[in-house]
Symmetry: C2
Subunit: 302 residues, 2 copies
């Protein structure tokens, strides 16, 4: 590609830019960020070739871009798309990295109108606790999933431009509809975040919180690691995927009510059955992950 524009040059956008450059798949990368300091830092670090901060620089950057990548909080999607639309060439493809998809698609439809076919929504399943341009690394996406939630309006070559860029970053391409995506991630990501935040907040609010934290050990540390994530980002995700998250939360609260009743009744057999089922399911899952991560024998390698 000749020119790629990245909105948000932090961990997600910055790592994408680094990976694409490392793969030799782009000649010129322009970075745009709501923080001017971050945009300039991204230039300094060599993540992007140029930072566009003034409105006229943004307009110039968008014009003629092959790919525009939004790596910004999901709530900003509509505003950013509306602002870049006047400068958008017909051949440019836009994609995003949002953790929710149905709301992003709705915002994109509202902002882009008849040109929605140029927007290919996606979600790279990668991350870490650090953030900002200094956290960006070229191999963040190696072996990780990229979920493309293509729209009926997307021409095949637009989808292909997005997926081949992510493949060049080392990602494995998966396909879901926006609605499937949101239900899946409400279950395995958004709900666990809410549960972890809720537990730490619950403990922190107790009068003897200091005593409690003193005895929290490695199991607690791992259980609550995701409660170290950005509150602003997770507020947005919770609201954006509210309907699916509420459905998962209700199912989980029903499960807790059942366990509470069995615990109060001293029903050890049921507790052991639930715990054992969970342990076996988790073990099968870990084994499947490890099998998938093990490289095949290199019979044909040089």
């Amino acid at each position: 590609m000749n020119k790629v524009v990245i909105y948000g040059v932090g961990l997600i956008g910055g790592s994408f830019a680094r990976a694409l450059k490392a793969a030799g798949r782009v000649r010129h990368v322009v970075g745009i960020d709501r923080s001017e300091a971050s945009a300039l830092r991204a230039v300094e670090l060599g993540i992007v070739d140029e930072a566009a901060t003034a409105p006229e620089a943004v307009a110039k950057a968008i014009a003629g871009a092959d790919l525009v990548v939004l790596a910004t909080p999901v709530a900003q999607t509509g505003r950013i798309l509306a602002a870049l639309l006047p400068y958008l060439d017909a051949h440019t493809v836009i994609t995003d990295c949002g953790s929710t998809k149905a709301d992003v698609v709705a915002a994109a439809r509202a902002a882009l109108g008849a040109r929605i076919g140029q927007f290919v929504p996606g979600h790279p399943i990668a991350g870490r606790e650090t953030n900002g341009p200094d956290a960006a690394i070229a191999d963040l996406y190696v072996g990780k999933k990229f979920v493309v939630t293509a729209l009926a309006e997307n021409p095949p070559q637009a989808v292909e431009r997005v997926t081949s860029a992510w493949q060049a970053c080392g990602a494995i391409i998966h396909r879901l509809t926006p609605e499937e995506h949101d239900k899946v991630f409400a279950s395995v990501s958004h709900l666990p975040h809410l549960l972890a935040y809720a537990l730490v907040d619950d403990i922190a609010g107790k009068p003897h919180a200091d005593l409690l934290f003193q005895y929290a050990a490695s199991g607690f540390r791992d259980f609550t690691r995701i409660a170290g994530s950005s509150p602003e980002m997770w507020r947005d995700i919770s609201l954006a995927n509210g309907a699916a998250l509420l459905a998962e939360l209700d199912a989980y609260m029903a499960q807790l009510a059942h366990l509470r009743e069995r615990l109060a009744a001293g029903d050890g057999a049921t507790l052991e059955a639930v715990y054992g089922n969970a342990q076996r399911a988790r073990r099968r899952w870990i084994e499947a992950i490890e099998a998938a991560e093990t490289p095949p024998p290199k019979d044909n390698a040089e």
Copy 2:
């Protein structure tokens, strides 16, 4: 000490034996295990000097022991104490490693009667996912907490014998009453285990469980790590500490009901406040842990 007897030569008991030997604090260690294979493996690995499996060997082992350590599931405490009582010398001190304390104390009082003063209850805060004699390592307890929940009947020298043995293993001694201990661990350990088991069981029971697990990533892996623990052990802990666990579970379910209602109302400000409070509390806790784990400057070191 001249002779130490360990009931349960797995990760917890085996690591204690290894550490005590490494510190040169014991001349002879006898291992007892409900699995004869484990007891013999512990001899083979040099964890214990002798395995006592036949009833007469157990009787001989208990006689004259300085310290008897129970590293067995908490539900077995009463039965083991009742069985060893006939051979118990007046100078012998018994301790345990159970994750709950009030129920262990009740079982010990029932089993030992007037000789309860010889039982000093305790709980080493250490562990890992592996188990059995092969998992035992000499440095498992270095820098970890050992909570002694001494009884009014314990002579100071009995408590001292237990705490100095754990200090020799590298542990830091903390003191709580059995009731304080159980409330604290219901909050920071037993509840998180139940929540993690509940989530994995909930997901595993859905018709599209395979699809869901396919997209579970590192955050889910850490959140559910404790759901890899022994279902039998955690059934026992849940029941043994049922009252305290129910109280914590009820508080947590009330917190979830509140968040559910705020989420349904689209109240982003409250969600962000709860998430932000949790993030800050967790960060303070991690900083406190890291400060405690950083060795002081070695100004006086040779």
